[in-house]
C-alpha cells in the first residue's frame, strides 16, 4: 500500500507531441482561421452533441437512500475454487488490517469517511444465488481464467438481469496459471469480450494475478477497492419500494424449557441487520426467502455496531477502521446460536493497558470492572429535570420524603424562574428508571402552563391546578390539543385540565394553597413563547387518536366536539340528540342546529371577514384584533363597541403573543427578502417559466423529485426517534433487531450462516394471493421446452416458490388459448397461482433446485403482466354430431348434445360441416334427446359430420409451495412437487395412450363409378358439341406405323458418324472414371493414416488433462473440507 514516489511529469519539448500542443494553441490564438466553413459539418456536430446529450438521460428515479446510508452490499460470487474467500480476505485486510479466519455471513467494514461495505460470499447453490442477486448492490463476479466461464456465472447473470441488474464487476483470477504470455493475453481478451456481450460493452473486468501469502497482491486489491469506492448506484425499482434486511446475526430466544420439553417446538428468533430499501413499517408482514411469510412481532433500534467515524480529517485511522462480522469469528467474539463466546488468548490482565485488546477481551474486562452493587448504583443515580438545573441525586430524596410534594425555585441564565417539582412520594427505583418519562411530563406541564397563563394572571387558583397536574402527571396521559377548549363533561381530577380552570376553580378541594407566591409566574409568557413549538405538544392529539380504547373513544368525541367552539363568546349547548348521531354511520359530520353558532349577530358575521379576499391583513389574528377595528371601527363603536372591543382586545393580545412566537425567527429584513423572492418567483413563472418547462422536462421532473425528498427529510427532523419510527417506520441505514415468533425449529437447527437470511418487507397489497399472468420465454440455453401443468419454481419478488403454470397465447386479441408447451423461440403467456406482485416485476423460473443437472438451470424468464382472481384461458373444444334427416337446407342433427337444455344454451350458434358448409343451430327437437334442427347454406350429405367450435375454460391449479431451503439440513436438496413425467420415470409407468389418439394409415377403398350412359334418343337430340364422341379402338396399325424408312446416303453418313463419335466419347469417359477412382483410393489411404496419428495424439493429450484434473480434485477433497464440490 505504500505509495512509491512517482516521477513528476515532464512536458515534451520537442517531437510530434510538442508540435501537436503548439498547434492547439495556435487554434486558440487565432480562432478566425479555424472557424467552421462547412454547414453540413456543423450540423452533424450539433446532431452528435444532441445525441450524446440524449443518451446521457435516464428516466429519473427517486433515490430513497438516506443521508446515512446502509452499508453497500458487495456480493462475491463465483463458482467454487475461483478464489472468493481469498478475495474477501484480501479486501477485508485492505480495509481493516484484519486477518479473517473464516467467512460466515455478512462482513461489514468501514471503508471510508462516509462509506461502509458489507461483503457476503455467495455459496454455489442456486437458492443462495437467487437471494444474493436480490439484495446485492455490487457484484464481484469471480471467474477462473484458467478454466473459463462456468455455467454458474451465466446462471447468476441471468438471475441478476431479471431482478433489477445491480452493478457488476468481473474479476479474473488464477491468471498465474498461464505460463505462456501470449496465451494469457488471448484468454484475457476472449473472456473480456464474452463478458462484455453479457453485460455491456466496456464493463469493468479486473485481473488478479497470483496469490501472495494466501492473499491477492496488495496493489491489485487496492486498485479494486478504489473502483468499489467510486461506484455509483442507480436505484433499483423493487428495492426502492420494499424494505429489506440482510441479517448478519440470528439468535434463538425461545424458552429453553420449551425446547427441552419439545425440541420441535416453534422458535422465537431475533434477527439483526441493517435496514435497506425503504422504511420498514412496524407491523409489516415479511417474507424470509427460504422460510416463508412471517409477521414481525417486534422491531427495535440498536446502536450501530459498525458506525461511521464522527470526525475524520483526511484518512481513517486504525481505530475507525471497524469490522463487524458477528457470525464469522472476528474480534475474539463468536456469536453462536444461543451464546456469545469470547476467545481469550493465554492469560490477560486488565491492568496492562498498553497492550491492544480485542473486542472480546474488552467485554470480559468490563464485566470484571463492575465493582459497585446495584444498590450503590441506585444511590448514585442522578436525575436532571431541567437542562440547567443541578442534578438531583437519589440520596437527596430521602431528606425530602417527609413532604409530599414540594418545589424548588431556580433562576436560570435567562433570568427565568423555573420550578422544579420534586416527587417525594414516588418510588425511588421507579424514578431512576423512568427519568426520561418524567422529563417528558415536565415538559408537558410546562406546555399546559403556557396555555393558560394569559388568562389566569389574575386567577390564583390555577396554581392548585398545576400542583394537581403534577400529582397525576405520572398516571395520566395528556390529551389536550388546543388551548382554551373547555371540557365540561368530565370534571374528574384525572382529566382535569389546567386550561379549564375557570370551570374547575370552584370545585377544587384536593390541594390547598401551599403558598401564595406568584414569583414563578414572572416571565411565564416568555417561557410560553419559547416552549410554544415544543415537539411534545403534538403527542396529545396523536395519543388521543391512536392510543384510544373504547373509553377514550368517547373522550375523543367530546374533545372533537369541544374543538368546535373555539371562542368563549359562544356558549355551547350540550348535544342532546347524540344518540341518533351515533347510530347513523355516515362520513358526513352532522351538526345539529343548536350546536351551530348564532350567525345572526352582526359582529359574528364581521369577525369572519378576514377569511375572504375582501378582508385585509395577513392572518386571522391581526384581523380579529387590530385590523378589523381599523376598518370597521366606527361601525362597532356605534352598536356594541365596548363589549366587543374589550374581548377582541384580549384576544388580540393572545394572538399577538402567538404571533411573536410564530414568526419569531424573522426580522423585518428577512421578511422583506422573502417577499422579494416570492415576487421574483412569480415573475419568473409568468414570463420565462413556460419556456423553461418545455425546454427541460427532464430537469423539471428531477427537481420535483428532489424537492419532495427534501420535504421528506425536513418533515420529521425535529421528532424523537420513537415517533419517527411510528410515523415513518424504520429508515434504511438503521441497525435493527427484528423479533419473529413461531419460526419453524428447523430454521435454528439447520442454521448455516453461509446462506443469506433476508427479511424482505411485503407491501400491504402483497400479502394476498391470486392468479398472476406473466409474459414468459423459455431460456434459450435451457434444453427442454416447458409443459403446461408441470410444476415450475419461480423466483418472483422476494419469494421463491413452486407453482403450476398454464401457458397460453393470445391469438386474435380476444382470447388466451392454452398451449401444451411453450413455444421454442417466442414469448408466451403463463398464468399461475401465487402471491400478488406488482405488474412489471421480473422473474425467473427453474425446473428444479437440486444440482443434478449439468445443463443450464434457468428454465424461463419473464415479467408479470396482470393480477387477477380469475383466469381467462381457454382451450379448443369441438362438439360433433351427425345428421339423421336432411331436407333442403335444413337438417336434423343428433349426437352433439345430451339434452334439450344444452341445445337451448347453444341456440343460434354457428356450426359447420367438415366439407365447409356453414350453418346455425335453430331449435331443439322433442325426440331424440339432444337432437336439434339446424339450417345450412347448402344441402348437406348424410355422410357429413357437423361440428361446433367452442372454447372451454382452463383453470390453473391453486398450488403454491414456497421453497423452504433454509429449513433443510442439506440446503441444496430441496425437493418440491415432481412433474408427472418424473413420477412415471420413478415408478416405471408407461405413458398412457388413448388408442383413439394414435395415428393409423387411413385405408380408403377406391371408389368406382359406373360409366355414364346417355340414352340414344337423347343423344340424337343433343347438339354436336355435346354429343359424346367415343371412338372405337383402331384395329389396324396406322399408316405411320406401317411404312418403312429409307435414309438418304448423306443422312446415313451423318448418322454413322454420330454413332462413332458417341462410342468414342463413352469409351473415354469410362477410362477417366477408372483413373479418378484409383487416385481417390490412394488419397483415402493417406487420409486414414493421418487420422490415425492425430487420434493417437489427442487421446494422449486428453489422458493428461484428466489425470491433472483428477489429481486436483483429490487434493481438494483431501484438503479443504469447507469448499464445495464442483458440479459434475
Amino acid at each position: 500500500m505504500e505509495e512509491q514516489p512517482r516521477k513528476p511529469h515532464r512536458a515534451k519539448q520537442a517531437g510530434p507531441k510538442a508540435e501537436k500542443k503548439q498547434r492547439k494553441n495556435s487554434e486558440k490564438n487565432n480562432p478566425k482561421a479555424f472557424a467552421l466553413n462547412s454547414g453540413v459539418k456543423a450540423f452533424k456536430n450539433a446532431m452528435r452533441n444532441a445525441d450524446i446529450e440524449q443518451k446521457r438521460l435516464h428516466v429519473p428515479l427517486v433515490d430513497r437512500t438516506p443521508d446515512e446510508a446502509p452499508p453497500t452490499m458487495v456480493a462475491v460470487v463465483g463458482p467454487p475454487g475461483c478464489g472468493k474467500t481469498t478475495l474477501i480476505r484480501s479486501l477485508v485486510k485492505r480495509y481493516t488490517k484484519y486477518n479473517l479466519n473464516e467467512i460466515k455471513g455478512p462482513i461489514t467494514v468501514v471503508s471510508g469517511k462516509k462509506k461502509r461495505l458489507t461483503f457476503m460470499e455467495c455459496a454455489n447453490d442456486i437458492n443462495s444465488m437467487i437471494d444474493i442477486a436480490k439484495v446485492a448492490d455490487l457484484v464481484l463476479l469471480l471467474i477462473d481464467a484458467d478454466f473459463g466461464f462456468e455455467m454458474e456465472t451465466f446462471e447468476f447473470l441471468n438471475i441478476l438481469q431479471v431482478h433489477g441488474f445491480p452493478k457488476i464487476m468481473g474479476v479474473l483470477t488464477h491468471l498465474d496459471k498461464f505460463k505462456n504470455n501470449k496465451k494469457l493475453r488471448n484468454t484475457k481478451k476472449q473472456l473480456k469480450h464474452r463478458f462484455w456481450t453479457e453485460i455491456y460493452q466496456g464493463a469493468k473486468l479486473f485481473y488478479l494475478s497470483g496469490i501472495i501469502n494466501g492473499k491477492y497482491p496488495k496493489n491489485e486489491v487496492m486498485n479494486l477497492s478504489r473502483f468499489i469506492s467510486v461506484m455509483k448506484f442507480r436505484p433499483l425499482i423493487w428495492r426502492n419500494t420494499h424494505p429489506y434486511v440482510l441479517c448478519d446475526r440470528a439468535e434463538d430466544l425461545t424458552d429453553p424449557e420449551l425446547i427441552h420439553k419439545n425440541p420441535k417446538c416453534d422458535r422465537d428468533v431475533t434477527l439483526y441487520g441493517y435496514m435497506r430499501g425503504t422504511n420498514l413499517k412496524p407491523n409489516m408482514k415479511v417474507h424470509i426467502p427460504g422460510s416463508g411469510d412471517h409477521w414481525i412481532s417486534d422491531i427495535s433500534l440498536l446502536p450501530d455496531p459498525c458506525p461511521l467515524p464522527d470526525k475524520v480529517k483526511k484518512s481513517l485511522n486504525d481505530k475507525q477502521k471497524l469490522i463487524y462480522a458477528p457470525m464469522s469469528d472476528v474480534g475474539g467474539i463468536l456469536y453462536d446460536k444461543d451464546a456469545v463466546y469470547i476467545n481469550v488468548t493465554g492469560n490477560f490482565n486488565k491492568d496492562n493497558n498498553d497492550e491492544e485488546k480485542t473486542e472480546g477481551e474488552k467485554l470480559v474486562i468490563d464485566l470484571q470492572d463492575a465493582q459497585d452493587t446495584l444498590a450503590d448504583k441506585i444511590e448514585k443515580s442522578e436525575l436532571q429535570l431541567f437542562k440547567n438545573s443541578a442534578p438531583l441525586k437519589a440520596t437527596d430524596l430521602k431528606t425530602l420524603s417527609g413532604k409530599d410534594v414540594s418545589y424548588t425555585e431556580e433562576i436560570d441564565e435567562n433570568g427565568n424562574i423555573r420550578r422544579k417539582a420534586v416527587f417525594g412520594d414516588e418510588n425511588e427505583d421507579e424514578e431512576s428508571d423512568e427519568d426520561d418519562e418524567n422529563e417528558e411530563n415536565e415538559e408537558d406541564e410546562e406546555d399546559e402552563e403556557d396555555d393558560d397563563d394569559e388568562e389566569d394572571d389574575e386567577d390564583e387558583e390555577d396554581e392548585d391546578e398545576e400542583m394537581e397536574d403534577e400529582d397525576s402527571s405520572s398516571k395520566r396521559r395528556r390529551r389536550k390539543a388546543f388551548e382554551k377548549y373547555d371540557n365540561e363533561e368530565q370534571n374528574d381530577e384525572d382529566i382535569a385540565f389546567a386550561e379549564s380552570d375557570s370551570d374547575l376553580g370552584d370545585e377544587d378541594e384536593d390541594d390547598d394553597d401551599e403558598n401564595g407566591e406568584l414569583n414563578w409566574k414572572i416571565g411565564m409568557a416568555e417561557r410560553a413563547a419559547a416552549n410554544f413549538k415544543d415537539v411534545k405538544r403534538k403527542k396529545n392529539l396523536m395519543q388521543i387518536v391512536y392510543d384510544g380504547t373504547d373509553s377514550e373513544e368517547e373522550e375523543s368525541e367530546s374533545e372533537e366536539e369541544d374543538n368546535g367552539d373555539d371562542d368563549e363568546l359562544f356558549v355551547k349547548v350540550k348535544p342532546q340528540k347524540k344518540v341518533s348521531k351515533d347510530i347513523m354511520d355516515t362520513s358526513k359530520l352532522i351538526v345539529l342546529n343548536d350546536e351551530l353558532e348564532d350567525w345572526s349577530d352582526e359582529d359574528m358575521i364581521e369577525s369572519l371577514r378576514y377569511r375572504f379576499i375582501t378582508g385585509d391583513g395577513n392572518n386571522k389574528n391581526n384581523n380579529e384584533g387590530g385590523d378589523d377595528e381599523e376598518v370597521y371601527g366606527d361601525f362597532e363603536d356605534l352598536e356594541t363597541g365596548e363589549v366587543v372591543k374589550g374581548e377582541n382586545g384580549e384576544e388580540g393580545n393572545d394572538n399577538e403573543n402567538e404571533n411573536e412566537e410564530g414568526d419569531d425567527g424573522l426580522t423585518e429584513e428577512e421578511r422583506l427578502a422573502r417577499k422579494k423572492e416570492e415576487l421574483k418567483k412569480k415573475f419568473d413563472a409568468e414570463y420565462d417559466g413556460e419556456e423553461e418547462e418545455n425546454d427541460n422536462f427532464y430537469e423539471e421532473i428531477k427537481s420535483g423529485i428532489n424537492k419532495q425528498l427534501e420535504l421528506n427529510r425536513a418533515e420529521f427532523e425535529e421528532d424523537d426517534p420513537e415517533t419517527r419510527a411510528k410515523i415513518e417506520g424504520y429508515r434504511p441505514g438503521q441497525y435493527v433487531r427484528i423479533l419473529i415468533k413461531n419460526l419453524p425449529c428447523e430454521f435454528i437447527e439447520h442454521f448455516d450462516p453461509t446462506y443469506p437470511v433476508i427479511i424482505g418487507g411485503l407491501l400491504s397489497t402483497e400479502e394476498a394471493f391470486g392468479f398472476i399472468q406473466v409474459r414468459i420465454k423459455r431460456h434459450r440455453w435451457h434444453q427442454k421446452i416447458l409443459k403446461t401443468n408441470d410444476p415450475l419454481i419461480f423466483s418472483l419478488g422476494w419469494r421463491r416458490f413452486q407453482s403450476i403454470p398454464i401457458y397460453s397465447l393470445n391469438i386474435d386479441g380476444t382470447r388466451n388459448r392454452m398451449l401444451k408447451y411453450t413455444p421454442e423461440h417466442m414469448h408466451c403467456l403463463a398464468q399461475f397461482y401465487g402471491p400478488i406482485t406488482q405488474p412489471n416485476t421480473g422473474f425467473c423460473a427453474f425446473r428444479s433446485m437440486t444440482e443434478t443437472t449439468q445443463a443450464f438451470r434457468i428454465a424461463a424468464t419473464g415479467v408479470v403482466l396482470d393480477i387477477n382472481q380469475s383466469t381467462e384461458i381457454v382451450k379448443k373444444l369441438k362438439l360433433t354430431g351427425v345428421p339423421f334427416k336432411i331436407f333442403k337446407n335444413t337438417a336434423f342433427i343428433r349426437n352433439m348434445f345430451n339434452s334439450s337444455l344444452e341445445v337451448a344454451k347453444f341456440e343460434g350458434v354457428a356450426i359447420r360441416t367438415v366439407s365447409g358448409i356453414r350453418g346455425q343451430i335453430k331449435k331443439h327437437l322433442p325426440k331424440p334427446d339432444g337432437a336439434f334442427r339446424a339450417t345450412f347454406e347448402d344441402k348437406i350429405l348424410m355422410s357429413d359430420i357437423v361440428f361446433l367450435r367452442a372454447w372451454y375454460p382452463v383453470r390453473p391449479k391453486k398450488f403454491y409451495n414456497p421453497v423452504t431451503s433454509l429449513l433443510l439440513s442439506e440446503k441444496t436438496s430441496w425437493q418440491g412437487m415432481k412433474t408427472v413425467s418424473e413420477i412415471r420415470r420413478l415408478n416405471k409407468l408407461p405413458i398412457p395412450m388413448n388408442p383413439d389418439s394414435s395415428y393409423k394409415t387411413i385405408v380408403r377403398p377406391t371408389r368406382r363409378f359406373n360409366p355414364l350412359k346417355i340414352p340414344k334418343a337423347l343423344q340424337q337430340e343433343l347438339p354436336f358439341a355435346s354429343k359424346p364422341k367415343v371412338l372405337k379402338k383402331q384395329k389396324k396399325p396406322s399408316l405411320m406405323a406401317r411404312r418403312a424408312v429409307v435414309l438418304e446416303p448423306k443422312e446415313k453418313k451423318i448418322y454413322t458418324l454420330m454413332q462413332q463419335i458417341n462410342t468414342l466419347k463413352h469409351e473415354k469417359d469410362k477410362k477417366r472414371k477408372l483413373k479418378t477412382q484409383e487416385r481417390k483410393e490412394v488419397y483415402l489411404k493417406k487420409q486414414a493414416k493421418e487420422e490415425k496419428i492425430k487420434e493417437e495424439k489427442q487421446s494422449k493429450k486428453r489422458k493428461e488433462i484428466y489425470r491433472a484434473e483428477g489429481k486436483k480434485r483429490a487434493r481438494e477433497e483431501a484438503g479443504d473440507s469447507g469448499r464445495y464440490k464442483k458440479r459434475h
Partner: protein, 376 residues
C-alpha cells in the same frame, strides 16, 4: 398464524370504510357484533346493498355472513371496475355508496363507469352535488386528472328517490403526494340550489337568502338554480342548497342542506333521524348559510366533508410525505386513522396548529401502487 389472518372489528359503524380499506389492501376482515344487541339485528338494507355493490365492482371477493347477519367475513378480491349499473335503494342516499367508490375507482383494473340509482340528496349523506363540486376536484391534487366525471341525470329526493347519477373515473398507477397546508382566502362562492317536483320558485327563494348574506363578504357569489322536471325529477319532491367557497389556493369549503319531509314511515324514524325542520325555503337557505360560515370559521385547507377522502388518499401515495391542514378531526376521521393503522401500519402525525386552531395531518405514504392495472 394463518387462522388469525383476519383483521377483526366489531360493530356496524364505519363498515364502509373498513370494507374499502380491506379491498384496497387485500386483507380479509371479520366484523362481528353487527347490531347484535338491537331489536333489529344484523346488516341493514343499505349495508347489504353496499356489499352487493362491492361484489360488482370487485372480482373474486367473497362475503360470508352468518345466519343472523351479525357477523361478516369479507375476503377481498381485486377491483375490476368496468361498466356497472346499480340500484342503491332508498334506505340511504347515493353518497353513501359513491363516496367509498371514489376511493376504490382509481385503483381498478378497468376505468369505472357506473350508473347509480337512488336518492341523490339527503341530509344524512354527502349529496351528489358536493361530491361533484368538492370531492372530485380534490382528486386532481393526487394526480387523478382527466376523465373523472359525475353526471347527475335525474334528481331523486327522499324518501322515494328515483335519482340517477353516472360516475366515470380513470385508473392510475400511483397517486402523487400532496402538500396542501395553505388555506388561502376565499375568492369566490358557488352554489347549487336544486328543486325537483316542486315549484322552481323554491330554489329561487333559497338562493335569495343565501346570496344576500354572502354578498356581504364577497361579490363573487353565484348560485345556480337547478330545476328538474318530468322524467328527470325522480319520485319525490324536494329542494336543497349546497354551497362551496373556493379560496385563492383552491381549497374548497362546503356546506349543504336539503329539505326533508317530516312524516316518513314509522320504522324509518329510528334509523333515519329527521334533523331539520324547515318551515320555509328561507329557513333552509339560512341553515345552509350557517353551515358554510361555520365551516369557513373552522378553516383548514381541507374541509370537514372531504377529510376522510384526503386521509385515505394520502396513505395511498408513494413513500413521500403528504401534508394537509384540516379544521378538526371528526369522529369518522379518528376511526379512519385508527383503521388505517391496522390495515396499512401507518400512523399519522397529528399536529395542532395553535395559530389558527387547525390541525396539520402529516403522513408518509405506504407506497401503494395499483397492482390491478395491467402492464403491457
Amino acid at each position: 398464524m394463518s387462522g388469525s389472518n383476519y383483521i377483526k372489528f366489531s360493530g356496524h359503524q364505519f363498515i364502509t370504510q373498513r370494507l374499502v380499506l380491506s379491498t384496497l389492501t387485500g386483507k380479509p376482515i371479520k366484523i362481528d357484533k353487527i347490531r347484535s344487541e338491537e331489536d333489529n339485528p344484523g346488516l341493514q338494507e343499505h349495508e347489504a346493498a353496499f356489499l352487493h355493490l362491492l361484489e360488482q365492482v370487485t372480482n373474486g371477493s367473497s362475503f360470508d355472513i352468518n345466519y343472523s347477519g351479525t357477523s361478516l367475513i369479507y375476503k377481498p378480491g381485486i377491483i375490476s371496475g368496468g361498466k356497472i349499473n346499480f340500484d342503491c335503494g332508498n334506505s340511504r342516499a347515493i353518497g353513501y355508496f359513491l363516496e367509498p367508490l371514489i376511493v376504490l375507482a382509481p385503483f381498478a383494473k378497468n376505468p369505472i363507469n357506473i350508473t347509480l340509482h337512488g336518492i341523490t340528496n339527503d341530509n344524512l349523506d354527502t349529496s351528489v352535488d358536493l361530491i361533484r363540486t368538492v370531492l372530485l376536484p380534490q382528486l386532481k391534487r393526487f394526480g387523478i386528472e382527466s376523465g373523472i366525471e359525475l353526471k347527475i341525470v335525474k334528481r331523486g329526493a327522499p324518501p322515494n328517490g328515483g335519482g340517477e347519477v353516472k360516475f366515470n373515473c380513470p385508473i392510475v398507477k400511483q397517486l402523487k403526494p400532496v402538500q396542501y397546508i395553505d388555506e388561502g382566502k376565499i375568492k369566490r362562492i358557488r352554489g347549487i340550489a336544486y328543486a325537483t317536483r316542486v315549484s322552481p320558485q323554491m330554489a329561487n327563494r333559497v338562493t335569495e337568502v343565501a346570496r344576500s348574506q354572502l354578498t356581504h363578504y364577497i361579490p363573487d357569489v353565484y348560485i345556480y338554480t337547478d330545476v328538474y322536471k318530468g322524467a328527470e325529477s325522480g319520485n319525490s319532491p324536494g329542494y336543497g342548497l349546497s354551497l362551496v367557497a373556493e379560496t385563492t389556493t383552491g381549497a374548497l369549503l362546503s356546506a349543504e342542506c336539503c329539505f326533508e319531509k317530516q312524516t316518513s314511515n314509522e320504522n324509518n324514524e329510528s334509523e333515519k333521524p329527521v334533523i331539520f325542520n324547515f318551515e320555509t325555503p328561507e329557513d333552509l337557505g339560512k341553515q345552509a348559510l350557517k353551515y358554510l360560515l361555520t365551516e369557513i370559521r373552522k378553516g383548514g385547507s381541507v374541509d370537514t366533508l372531504s377529510q376522510w377522502i384526503n386521509i385515505i388518499l394520502m396513505v395511498l401515495t408513494p413513500e413521500d410525505v403528504s401534508k394537509i391542514r384540516i379544521s378538526k378531526l371528526t369522529k369518522v376521521s379518528i376511526q379512519l386513522l385508527r383503521d388505517i393503522r391496522s390495515f396499512f401500519g401507518i400512523t399519522y402525525k397529528i399536529k395542532p396548529d395553535p395559530e389558527n386552531q387547525t390541525v396539520l395531518l402529516t403522513c408518509v405514504g405506504s407506497g401503494f401502487t395499483n397492482t390491478n392495472k395491467k402492464f403491457t
